[in-house]
Protein backbone atom coordinates (compact mmCIF):
# COMPACT_ATOMS: atom_id res chain seq x y z
CA UNK A 1 0.00 0.00 0.00
CA UNK A 2 2.84 2.33 0.89
CA UNK A 3 4.25 4.12 -2.10
CA UNK A 4 1.47 3.17 -4.51
CA UNK A 5 1.42 6.67 -5.82
CA UNK A 6 0.72 6.22 -9.50
CA UNK A 7 -2.05 8.29 -10.99
CA UNK A 8 -2.70 5.76 -13.71
CA UNK A 9 -4.30 3.12 -11.48
CA UNK A 10 -8.06 2.73 -11.66
CA UNK A 11 -8.54 3.57 -8.00
CA UNK A 12 -7.87 7.29 -7.44
CA UNK A 13 -5.46 8.16 -4.61
CA UNK A 14 -7.01 8.87 -1.23
CA UNK A 15 -5.89 12.46 -1.47
CA UNK A 16 -4.62 14.40 -4.41
CA UNK A 17 -3.47 17.99 -4.76
CA UNK A 18 -3.23 19.29 -8.31
CA UNK A 19 -1.18 22.42 -8.81
CA UNK A 20 -2.69 24.00 -5.70
CA UNK A 21 -2.02 27.69 -5.11
CA UNK A 22 -3.19 30.05 -2.43
CA UNK A 23 -2.95 33.80 -2.14
CA UNK A 24 -4.13 35.82 0.83
CA UNK A 25 -5.56 39.25 0.18
CA UNK A 26 -5.21 42.14 2.59
CA UNK A 27 -5.21 45.92 2.59
CA UNK A 28 -1.40 46.03 2.41
CA UNK A 29 -1.37 43.77 -0.62
CA UNK A 30 -1.53 40.13 -1.48
CA UNK A 31 0.59 37.34 -0.07
CA UNK A 32 1.43 34.23 -2.02
CA UNK A 33 1.32 31.46 0.58
CA UNK A 34 1.48 28.34 -1.61
CA UNK A 35 2.51 27.84 -5.22
CA UNK A 36 2.04 24.86 -7.52
CA UNK A 37 1.68 22.13 -4.91
CA UNK A 38 1.05 18.73 -6.47
CA UNK A 39 0.89 15.70 -4.21
CA UNK A 40 -0.71 12.31 -4.17
CA UNK A 41 -1.23 10.39 -0.97
CA UNK A 42 -2.39 6.77 -0.83
CA UNK A 43 -4.89 5.33 1.64
CA UNK A 44 -3.20 4.39 4.91
CA UNK A 45 -0.09 6.41 4.24
CA UNK A 46 1.45 8.48 7.06
CA UNK A 47 3.01 11.60 5.60
CA UNK A 48 4.83 14.40 7.39
CA UNK A 49 5.15 17.89 5.97
CA UNK A 50 7.98 20.00 7.37
CA UNK A 51 9.08 23.53 6.69
CA UNK A 52 10.01 26.68 8.50
CA UNK A 53 7.37 28.76 10.22
CA UNK A 54 5.35 30.81 7.80
CA UNK A 55 5.93 28.47 4.86
CA UNK A 56 2.24 27.63 4.53
CA UNK A 57 2.19 24.21 6.21
CA UNK A 58 -0.92 24.92 8.26
CA UNK A 59 -2.55 26.64 5.29
CA UNK A 60 -2.08 23.43 3.33
CA UNK A 61 -4.00 21.49 5.98
CA UNK A 62 -6.79 24.09 5.98
CA UNK A 63 -7.07 23.59 2.21
CA UNK A 64 -7.28 19.80 2.56
CA UNK A 65 -9.87 20.10 5.33
CA UNK A 66 -12.00 22.33 3.12
CA UNK A 67 -12.21 25.31 5.48
CA UNK A 68 -10.13 27.29 2.95
CA UNK A 69 -10.59 27.20 -0.82
CA UNK A 70 -7.50 27.29 -3.04
CA UNK A 71 -7.13 30.30 -5.34
CA UNK A 72 -5.70 27.94 -7.97
CA UNK A 73 -5.66 24.20 -8.68
CA UNK A 74 -7.78 21.56 -6.96
CA UNK A 75 -7.85 19.32 -3.90
CA UNK A 76 -9.41 15.89 -4.48
CA UNK A 77 -10.41 13.26 -1.95
CA UNK A 78 -11.18 9.83 -3.43
CA UNK A 79 -11.09 11.52 -6.82
CA UNK A 80 -13.75 14.10 -5.98
CA UNK A 81 -13.00 17.81 -5.55
CA UNK A 82 -13.25 19.15 -2.00
CA UNK A 83 -16.04 21.73 -1.79
CA UNK A 84 -16.10 22.28 1.97
CA UNK A 85 -15.42 20.52 5.26
CA UNK A 86 -15.92 16.81 4.69
CA UNK A 87 -16.72 14.01 7.11
CA UNK A 88 -13.85 12.07 5.60
CA UNK A 89 -11.33 14.48 7.10
CA UNK A 90 -10.55 14.93 10.79
CA UNK A 91 -8.36 17.81 11.90
CA UNK A 92 -6.27 17.98 15.06
CA UNK A 93 -5.20 21.53 15.82
CA UNK A 94 -2.05 22.81 17.54
CA UNK A 95 -3.79 22.91 20.90
CA UNK A 96 -6.68 20.91 22.24
CA UNK A 97 -9.15 23.83 22.36
CA UNK A 98 -11.43 21.80 24.62
CA UNK A 99 -14.54 23.76 25.58
CA UNK A 100 -14.26 24.54 29.29
CA UNK A 101 -18.06 24.53 29.65
CA UNK A 102 -18.34 20.92 28.50
CA UNK A 103 -17.32 17.73 30.26
CA UNK A 104 -14.64 15.50 28.73
CA UNK A 105 -17.24 13.19 27.19
CA UNK A 106 -19.30 16.12 25.86
CA UNK A 107 -16.12 17.55 24.35
CA UNK A 108 -15.29 14.27 22.66
CA UNK A 109 -18.68 14.08 20.93
CA UNK A 110 -18.65 17.72 19.73
CA UNK A 111 -17.87 16.78 16.13
CA UNK A 112 -20.52 14.09 16.05
CA UNK A 113 -23.01 16.61 17.42
CA UNK A 114 -22.16 19.21 14.78
CA UNK A 115 -22.34 16.62 12.00
CA UNK A 116 -25.72 15.39 13.22
CA UNK A 117 -24.57 11.81 13.78
CA UNK A 118 -26.40 9.29 15.98
CA UNK A 119 -25.50 10.61 19.41
CA UNK A 120 -26.04 7.40 21.37
CA UNK A 121 -23.58 5.59 19.10
CA UNK A 122 -21.17 8.54 19.20
CA UNK A 123 -21.20 8.58 23.01
CA UNK A 124 -20.48 4.86 23.05
CA UNK A 125 -17.60 5.28 20.62
CA UNK A 126 -16.21 8.25 22.56
CA UNK A 127 -16.41 6.34 25.83
CA UNK A 128 -14.60 3.39 24.29
CA UNK A 129 -11.85 5.61 22.80
CA UNK A 130 -11.36 7.64 25.98
CA UNK A 131 -11.21 4.46 28.04
CA UNK A 132 -8.60 3.03 25.68
CA UNK A 133 -6.53 6.22 26.11
CA UNK A 134 -6.64 5.82 29.88
CA UNK A 135 -9.24 8.51 30.50
CA UNK A 136 -12.11 6.23 31.48
CA UNK A 137 -12.56 7.69 34.93
CA UNK A 138 -12.49 11.30 33.70
CA UNK A 139 -15.54 11.22 31.41
CA UNK A 140 -17.51 13.65 33.56
CA UNK A 141 -14.55 15.82 34.56
CA UNK A 142 -13.95 19.33 33.25
CA UNK A 143 -11.01 20.02 30.88
CA UNK A 144 -9.19 22.18 33.44
CA UNK A 145 -8.88 19.15 35.72
CA UNK A 146 -6.72 17.33 33.12
CA UNK A 147 -3.03 17.66 32.25
CA UNK A 148 -1.86 18.85 28.83
CA UNK A 149 -1.15 15.33 27.55
CA UNK A 150 -4.52 14.08 28.74
CA UNK A 151 -6.28 17.01 27.11
CA UNK A 152 -4.55 16.34 23.79
CA UNK A 153 -5.71 12.68 24.02
CA UNK A 154 -9.27 13.94 24.44
CA UNK A 155 -8.72 16.05 21.31
CA UNK A 156 -7.58 12.93 19.45
CA UNK A 157 -10.70 11.07 20.60
CA UNK A 158 -12.82 14.04 19.48
CA UNK A 159 -11.20 13.80 16.03
CA UNK A 160 -11.66 10.04 15.74
CA UNK A 161 -15.23 9.79 17.07
CA UNK A 162 -16.55 11.05 13.72
CA UNK A 163 -14.57 8.23 12.02
CA UNK A 164 -12.64 10.20 9.40
CA UNK A 165 -10.52 8.38 6.78
CA UNK A 166 -7.92 11.13 6.71
CA UNK A 167 -6.51 12.67 9.87
CA UNK A 168 -4.71 16.01 9.68
CA UNK A 169 -2.33 16.80 12.53
CA UNK A 170 -1.20 20.42 12.81
CA UNK A 171 1.78 20.35 15.19
CA UNK A 172 -0.49 18.63 17.69
CA UNK A 173 2.23 18.23 20.29
CA UNK A 174 3.83 21.66 20.13
CA UNK A 175 2.13 22.91 23.29
CA UNK A 176 3.35 19.96 25.39
CA UNK A 177 6.52 19.49 27.41
CA UNK A 178 9.20 17.40 25.74
CA UNK A 179 8.67 14.12 27.65
CA UNK A 180 4.90 14.16 27.17
CA UNK A 181 5.53 15.11 23.58
CA UNK A 182 7.65 12.03 22.82
CA UNK A 183 5.34 9.66 24.66
CA UNK A 184 2.22 11.03 23.02
CA UNK A 185 3.79 10.99 19.54
CA UNK A 186 4.44 7.27 20.02
CA UNK A 187 0.92 6.71 21.17
CA UNK A 188 -0.77 8.72 18.44
CA UNK A 189 1.33 7.17 15.66
CA UNK A 190 0.43 3.74 16.99
CA UNK A 191 -3.30 4.51 17.22
CA UNK A 192 -3.49 6.01 13.73
CA UNK A 193 -1.58 3.08 12.18
CA UNK A 194 -3.76 0.52 13.92
CA UNK A 195 -6.91 2.26 12.75
CA UNK A 196 -5.44 2.40 9.23
CA UNK A 197 -6.01 6.12 8.90
CA UNK A 198 -4.39 8.18 6.22
CA UNK A 199 -2.47 10.75 8.24
CA UNK A 200 -0.81 14.03 7.39
CA UNK A 201 1.37 15.53 10.09
CA UNK A 202 2.58 19.10 9.87
CA UNK A 203 5.52 19.90 12.10
CA UNK A 204 8.74 21.88 12.27
CA UNK A 205 10.34 19.14 14.36
CA UNK A 206 12.48 17.06 11.99
CA UNK A 207 12.86 14.21 14.47
CA UNK A 208 9.14 13.97 15.01
CA UNK A 209 8.56 13.82 11.25
CA UNK A 210 11.15 11.06 10.67
CA UNK A 211 9.92 9.06 13.65
CA UNK A 212 6.23 9.17 12.90
CA UNK A 213 5.91 9.25 9.12
CA UNK A 214 6.90 6.91 6.31
CA UNK A 215 7.25 9.80 3.91
CA UNK A 216 8.52 13.32 4.56
CA UNK A 217 7.77 16.29 2.34
CA UNK A 218 9.81 19.47 2.70
CA UNK A 219 8.17 22.76 1.85
CA UNK A 220 10.31 25.69 0.77
CA UNK A 221 9.98 29.11 2.26
CA UNK A 222 7.14 31.38 1.19
CA UNK A 223 5.65 30.89 -1.30
CA UNK A 224 5.56 27.27 -0.14
CA UNK A 225 6.52 24.78 -2.85
CA UNK A 226 7.39 21.09 -2.60
CA UNK A 227 11.16 21.02 -2.27
CA UNK A 228 11.61 17.33 -1.68
CA UNK A 229 9.49 14.26 -1.11
CA UNK A 230 11.24 11.18 0.24
CA UNK A 231 10.25 7.86 1.79
CA UNK A 232 11.58 7.02 5.25
CA UNK A 233 12.68 3.41 5.68
CA UNK A 234 14.33 1.64 8.58
CA UNK A 235 16.03 -1.72 8.24
CA UNK A 236 14.21 -3.94 10.72
CA UNK A 237 14.50 -7.74 10.81
CA UNK A 238 10.85 -8.43 10.07
CA UNK A 239 10.11 -5.26 8.16
CA UNK A 240 7.97 -4.03 11.05
CA UNK A 241 7.45 -0.35 11.55
CA UNK A 242 9.44 1.18 14.40
CA UNK A 243 7.87 3.36 17.03
CA UNK A 244 8.91 7.03 16.80
CA UNK A 245 11.02 6.65 19.95
CA UNK A 246 12.76 3.48 18.70
CA UNK A 247 13.41 5.11 15.32
CA UNK A 248 15.50 7.78 17.03
CA UNK A 249 18.03 5.11 18.03
CA UNK A 250 18.73 3.83 14.50
CA UNK A 251 21.68 4.79 12.26
CA UNK A 252 19.28 5.76 9.44
CA UNK A 253 17.67 8.38 11.66
CA UNK A 254 20.76 10.59 11.71
CA UNK A 255 21.18 10.30 7.95
CA UNK A 256 17.62 11.40 7.31
CA UNK A 257 17.95 14.13 9.92
CA UNK A 258 21.02 15.64 8.26
CA UNK A 259 19.54 15.49 4.77
CA UNK A 260 16.29 17.12 5.86
CA UNK A 261 18.14 19.70 7.94
CA UNK A 262 20.09 20.79 4.87
CA UNK A 263 16.96 20.92 2.75
CA UNK A 264 15.23 23.11 5.30
CA UNK A 265 18.03 25.69 4.83
CA UNK A 266 17.68 26.93 8.35
CA UNK A 267 19.41 30.25 8.72
CA UNK A 268 19.74 31.55 12.20
CA UNK A 269 19.62 35.28 12.02
CA UNK A 270 21.04 37.84 14.40
Amino acid sequence: MVGSRSNTSAVPPKLELRDVALRYFGREGETEALRGISLSIAAGEFVAIIGQSGCGKSTLLSLISGILRPTGGAVLIDGRPVAGPSRKVGYMLQQDYLFEWRTILENAVLGAEIQGLDMAAARQRATALLTRYGLGQFLNHRPRQLSGGMRQRVALARTLVTEPDIVLLDEPFSALDSQTRLALADEVADILRRERKTAILVTHDIGEAIGMAERVIVLSRRPGQVKSDRPIRFATPNGARLSPLAARGTPEFNGYFNTLWQELEVHVEG
Partner: protein, 280 residues
Protein backbone atom coordinates in the same frame (compact mmCIF):
# COMPACT_ATOMS: atom_id res chain seq x y z
CA UNK B 1 -14.32 41.07 43.21
CA UNK B 2 -14.20 37.38 43.84
CA UNK B 3 -11.66 36.14 46.28
CA UNK B 4 -9.60 33.02 46.02
CA UNK B 5 -10.06 31.36 49.34
CA UNK B 6 -9.06 28.06 50.83
CA UNK B 7 -6.75 27.06 48.00
CA UNK B 8 -6.34 23.32 48.34
CA UNK B 9 -3.13 21.82 49.66
CA UNK B 10 -1.48 20.16 46.71
CA UNK B 11 -1.46 16.41 47.02
CA UNK B 12 -0.61 16.31 50.70
CA UNK B 13 -2.11 13.92 53.18
CA UNK B 14 0.29 15.03 55.90
CA UNK B 15 -1.04 16.42 59.14
CA UNK B 16 -1.05 20.23 58.85
CA UNK B 17 2.13 21.70 60.26
CA UNK B 18 2.19 24.23 63.05
CA UNK B 19 3.36 26.87 60.57
CA UNK B 20 0.40 26.16 58.31
CA UNK B 21 -2.05 26.41 61.22
CA UNK B 22 -0.49 29.72 62.21
CA UNK B 23 -0.84 30.94 58.64
CA UNK B 24 -4.49 29.89 58.63
CA UNK B 25 -5.10 31.78 61.87
CA UNK B 26 -3.45 34.90 60.44
CA UNK B 27 -5.63 34.63 57.32
CA UNK B 28 -8.75 34.31 59.45
CA UNK B 29 -7.71 37.28 61.60
CA UNK B 30 -7.16 39.33 58.46
CA UNK B 31 -10.60 38.51 57.18
CA UNK B 32 -12.27 39.32 60.49
CA UNK B 33 -10.47 42.66 60.61
CA UNK B 34 -11.82 43.62 57.18
CA UNK B 35 -15.36 42.57 58.07
CA UNK B 36 -15.10 44.41 61.39
CA UNK B 37 -13.90 47.57 59.67
CA UNK B 38 -16.78 47.37 57.19
CA UNK B 39 -19.30 47.05 60.00
CA UNK B 40 -17.67 49.86 61.98
CA UNK B 41 -17.86 52.18 58.99
CA UNK B 42 -21.59 51.57 58.63
CA UNK B 43 -22.06 52.09 62.35
CA UNK B 44 -20.14 55.39 62.35
CA UNK B 45 -22.26 56.60 59.44
CA UNK B 46 -25.51 55.73 61.22
CA UNK B 47 -24.39 57.27 64.51
CA UNK B 48 -23.35 60.53 62.80
CA UNK B 49 -26.63 60.59 60.90
CA UNK B 50 -28.48 60.22 64.20
CA UNK B 51 -26.38 62.50 66.40
CA UNK B 52 -25.55 65.45 64.13
CA UNK B 53 -29.20 66.40 63.40
CA UNK B 54 -30.21 65.86 67.03
CA UNK B 55 -27.38 68.14 68.18
CA UNK B 56 -28.68 70.68 65.66
CA UNK B 57 -25.30 70.70 63.90
CA UNK B 58 -27.14 69.92 60.68
CA UNK B 59 -30.78 70.71 60.02
CA UNK B 60 -32.89 67.59 60.74
CA UNK B 61 -35.51 68.90 58.33
CA UNK B 62 -33.20 67.93 55.45
CA UNK B 63 -31.85 64.64 56.72
CA UNK B 64 -34.29 62.94 59.09
CA UNK B 65 -32.81 60.37 61.54
CA UNK B 66 -32.13 56.65 61.23
CA UNK B 67 -34.29 56.08 64.31
CA UNK B 68 -37.20 57.73 62.48
CA UNK B 69 -37.00 55.25 59.60
CA UNK B 70 -38.61 52.27 61.28
CA UNK B 71 -41.66 54.14 62.67
CA UNK B 72 -42.09 55.78 59.25
CA UNK B 73 -41.86 52.41 57.60
CA UNK B 74 -44.51 50.95 59.91
CA UNK B 75 -46.72 53.97 59.26
CA UNK B 76 -46.29 53.62 55.48
CA UNK B 77 -47.17 49.92 55.59
CA UNK B 78 -50.76 51.00 56.06
CA UNK B 79 -52.55 51.67 52.79
CA UNK B 80 -54.75 54.79 52.86
CA UNK B 81 -57.29 55.92 50.27
CA UNK B 82 -54.71 58.45 49.02
CA UNK B 83 -51.61 56.31 49.31
CA UNK B 84 -50.78 52.66 48.62
CA UNK B 85 -48.80 50.63 51.15
CA UNK B 86 -45.01 50.96 50.95
CA UNK B 87 -44.86 47.25 50.13
CA UNK B 88 -46.96 47.91 47.02
CA UNK B 89 -44.59 50.74 46.08
CA UNK B 90 -41.58 48.51 46.56
CA UNK B 91 -43.11 45.66 44.61
CA UNK B 92 -43.95 48.00 41.76
CA UNK B 93 -40.34 49.24 41.53
CA UNK B 94 -38.86 45.74 41.83
CA UNK B 95 -41.20 44.36 39.17
CA UNK B 96 -40.42 47.16 36.72
CA UNK B 97 -36.68 46.66 37.34
CA UNK B 98 -36.85 42.91 36.79
CA UNK B 99 -38.88 43.40 33.61
CA UNK B 100 -36.41 46.11 32.53
CA UNK B 101 -33.22 44.12 32.88
CA UNK B 102 -34.78 40.91 31.57
CA UNK B 103 -35.92 42.75 28.46
CA UNK B 104 -32.53 44.46 28.15
CA UNK B 105 -30.72 41.11 28.38
CA UNK B 106 -33.03 39.36 25.90
CA UNK B 107 -32.96 42.21 23.40
CA UNK B 108 -29.26 42.81 24.02
CA UNK B 109 -28.36 39.20 23.24
CA UNK B 110 -30.58 39.20 20.16
CA UNK B 111 -29.15 42.46 18.81
CA UNK B 112 -25.55 41.45 19.61
CA UNK B 113 -26.14 38.11 17.84
CA UNK B 114 -27.50 39.96 14.79
CA UNK B 115 -24.46 42.25 14.76
CA UNK B 116 -22.16 39.22 15.07
CA UNK B 117 -24.00 37.47 12.25
CA UNK B 118 -23.91 40.42 9.88
CA UNK B 119 -20.54 42.14 10.28
CA UNK B 120 -21.64 44.74 7.74
CA UNK B 121 -24.58 45.68 9.96
CA UNK B 122 -22.18 46.24 12.84
CA UNK B 123 -19.90 48.40 10.75
CA UNK B 124 -22.88 50.57 9.75
CA UNK B 125 -24.41 50.82 13.22
CA UNK B 126 -21.23 51.10 15.28
CA UNK B 127 -21.06 54.93 15.54
CA UNK B 128 -24.79 55.17 16.33
CA UNK B 129 -24.52 52.59 19.08
CA UNK B 130 -21.60 54.40 20.65
CA UNK B 131 -23.44 57.74 20.53
CA UNK B 132 -26.68 56.17 21.83
CA UNK B 133 -24.71 54.66 24.70
CA UNK B 134 -23.08 57.98 25.56
CA UNK B 135 -26.39 59.92 25.44
CA UNK B 136 -27.88 60.89 28.80
CA UNK B 137 -31.01 58.78 28.45
CA UNK B 138 -32.73 60.59 31.33
CA UNK B 139 -33.15 63.53 28.94
CA UNK B 140 -35.91 61.44 27.37
CA UNK B 141 -37.99 61.04 30.53
CA UNK B 142 -40.53 63.74 29.63
CA UNK B 143 -40.71 62.56 26.01
CA UNK B 144 -41.21 58.93 27.00
CA UNK B 145 -44.04 60.13 29.25
CA UNK B 146 -45.75 61.70 26.26
CA UNK B 147 -45.06 58.80 23.93
CA UNK B 148 -45.67 55.82 26.15
CA UNK B 149 -47.97 57.05 28.92
CA UNK B 150 -47.58 56.87 32.68
CA UNK B 151 -46.72 53.22 33.30
CA UNK B 152 -45.08 52.13 30.03
CA UNK B 153 -42.66 55.05 30.10
CA UNK B 154 -41.10 53.61 33.27
CA UNK B 155 -40.31 50.34 31.49
CA UNK B 156 -39.17 52.35 28.49
CA UNK B 157 -36.71 54.39 30.55
CA UNK B 158 -35.42 51.29 32.32
CA UNK B 159 -34.78 49.61 28.97
CA UNK B 160 -33.32 52.71 27.32
CA UNK B 161 -30.76 53.18 30.07
CA UNK B 162 -29.54 49.58 30.09
CA UNK B 163 -29.96 48.35 26.51
CA UNK B 164 -27.11 50.02 24.64
CA UNK B 165 -24.37 49.22 27.11
CA UNK B 166 -25.70 45.64 27.17
CA UNK B 167 -25.50 45.34 23.39
CA UNK B 168 -21.96 46.72 23.33
CA UNK B 169 -20.75 44.51 26.18
CA UNK B 170 -22.26 41.32 24.80
CA UNK B 171 -21.12 42.05 21.25
CA UNK B 172 -17.57 42.55 22.51
CA UNK B 173 -17.87 39.26 24.35
CA UNK B 174 -18.99 37.53 21.16
CA UNK B 175 -16.11 39.10 19.23
CA UNK B 176 -13.70 37.90 21.89
CA UNK B 177 -14.49 34.24 21.20
CA UNK B 178 -11.26 32.32 20.61
CA UNK B 179 -10.97 32.11 16.79
CA UNK B 180 -9.33 28.71 17.17
CA UNK B 181 -12.45 27.34 18.87
CA UNK B 182 -14.45 28.63 15.92
CA UNK B 183 -11.94 27.02 13.55
CA UNK B 184 -12.29 23.75 15.43
CA UNK B 185 -16.06 23.81 14.93
CA UNK B 186 -15.51 24.65 11.25
CA UNK B 187 -13.28 21.63 10.76
CA UNK B 188 -16.33 19.54 11.66
CA UNK B 189 -18.35 21.48 9.09
CA UNK B 190 -20.29 23.64 11.57
CA UNK B 191 -22.83 26.06 10.12
CA UNK B 192 -22.92 29.68 11.26
CA UNK B 193 -25.92 28.92 13.49
CA UNK B 194 -24.02 26.02 15.07
CA UNK B 195 -20.98 28.22 15.67
CA UNK B 196 -23.27 30.72 17.40
CA UNK B 197 -25.09 28.22 19.60
CA UNK B 198 -22.27 25.77 20.35
CA UNK B 199 -19.21 28.04 20.56
CA UNK B 200 -19.98 31.75 20.78
CA UNK B 201 -22.96 31.76 23.16
CA UNK B 202 -21.76 29.18 25.71
CA UNK B 203 -18.29 30.74 25.59
CA UNK B 204 -19.75 34.16 26.41
CA UNK B 205 -21.55 33.16 29.60
CA UNK B 206 -19.07 35.09 31.82
CA UNK B 207 -19.70 38.18 29.67
CA UNK B 208 -23.45 37.67 29.93
CA UNK B 209 -23.23 37.60 33.71
CA UNK B 210 -21.03 40.70 33.75
CA UNK B 211 -23.61 42.44 31.54
CA UNK B 212 -26.39 41.32 33.85
CA UNK B 213 -24.55 42.82 36.83
CA UNK B 214 -24.23 46.19 35.11
CA UNK B 215 -27.80 45.93 33.92
CA UNK B 216 -29.50 45.43 37.26
CA UNK B 217 -28.09 48.66 38.61
CA UNK B 218 -28.89 50.63 35.45
CA UNK B 219 -32.44 49.27 35.21
CA UNK B 220 -33.12 50.36 38.76
CA UNK B 221 -31.85 53.86 37.91
CA UNK B 222 -34.13 53.94 34.88
CA UNK B 223 -37.17 52.83 36.86
CA UNK B 224 -36.66 55.33 39.70
CA UNK B 225 -36.05 58.23 37.31
CA UNK B 226 -39.12 57.19 35.31
CA UNK B 227 -41.17 57.06 38.49
CA UNK B 228 -40.09 60.61 39.46
CA UNK B 229 -41.91 61.92 36.45
CA UNK B 230 -44.84 59.77 35.75
CA UNK B 231 -46.04 57.37 38.38
CA UNK B 232 -48.37 57.36 41.33
CA UNK B 233 -46.72 54.16 42.43
CA UNK B 234 -43.18 53.03 43.14
CA UNK B 235 -40.29 54.11 45.36
CA UNK B 236 -39.27 56.83 42.90
CA UNK B 237 -42.72 58.33 43.19
CA UNK B 238 -42.57 58.06 46.99
CA UNK B 239 -39.27 59.94 47.05
CA UNK B 240 -40.67 62.66 44.82
CA UNK B 241 -43.88 62.88 46.87
CA UNK B 242 -42.05 62.94 50.21
CA UNK B 243 -39.72 65.74 49.12
CA UNK B 244 -42.61 67.82 47.75
CA UNK B 245 -44.46 67.76 51.08
CA UNK B 246 -41.13 68.09 52.92
CA UNK B 247 -41.43 64.79 54.76
CA UNK B 248 -37.82 63.64 54.68
CA UNK B 249 -38.76 60.62 56.79
CA UNK B 250 -40.61 59.24 53.78
CA UNK B 251 -37.77 60.09 51.39
CA UNK B 252 -35.10 58.48 53.55
CA UNK B 253 -37.19 55.37 54.18
CA UNK B 254 -37.74 54.92 50.45
CA UNK B 255 -34.04 55.45 49.72
CA UNK B 256 -33.06 52.93 52.40
CA UNK B 257 -35.41 50.37 50.86
CA UNK B 258 -33.84 51.08 47.45
CA UNK B 259 -30.41 50.41 48.92
CA UNK B 260 -31.65 47.11 50.34
CA UNK B 261 -33.36 46.14 47.06
CA UNK B 262 -30.23 46.77 44.98
CA UNK B 263 -28.03 44.89 47.47
CA UNK B 264 -30.36 41.88 47.36
CA UNK B 265 -30.38 41.87 43.56
CA UNK B 266 -26.60 42.18 43.44
CA UNK B 267 -26.24 39.29 45.88
CA UNK B 268 -28.66 37.18 43.80
CA UNK B 269 -26.50 37.71 40.72
CA UNK B 270 -23.27 37.00 42.58
CA UNK B 271 -24.85 33.76 43.72
CA UNK B 272 -25.89 32.95 40.15
CA UNK B 273 -22.36 33.72 38.97
CA UNK B 274 -20.82 31.43 41.56
CA UNK B 275 -23.27 28.65 40.61
CA UNK B 276 -22.43 28.97 36.90
CA UNK B 277 -18.67 29.22 37.43
CA UNK B 278 -18.65 26.15 39.63
CA UNK B 279 -19.83 24.20 36.58
CA UNK B 280 -16.77 25.18 34.57
Amino acid sequence: MSKVEGAPLIGQSLAPSAEYLAWLRAERRDQLTVRGAQLALLLVFLVLWEVLPRAQIINPLFTSYPSALWPTFVELLQATPQQASILTHTWSTVLATVVGFTAAMALGIAIAAALWWWQGLYRVLDPYLVVANAMPKTAFVPIFYLWLGASLSIYGMSLAISLFVTVLMIYNGFQGTDPNKVKLAQTFGASKAQILTKVVLPGSVPTLIAALKVNVGLSLVGVVVGEFQSANLGLGYLIQYGSQIFKLNIVMTAITILAIVSSVMYLAISWLEAAVMRRR
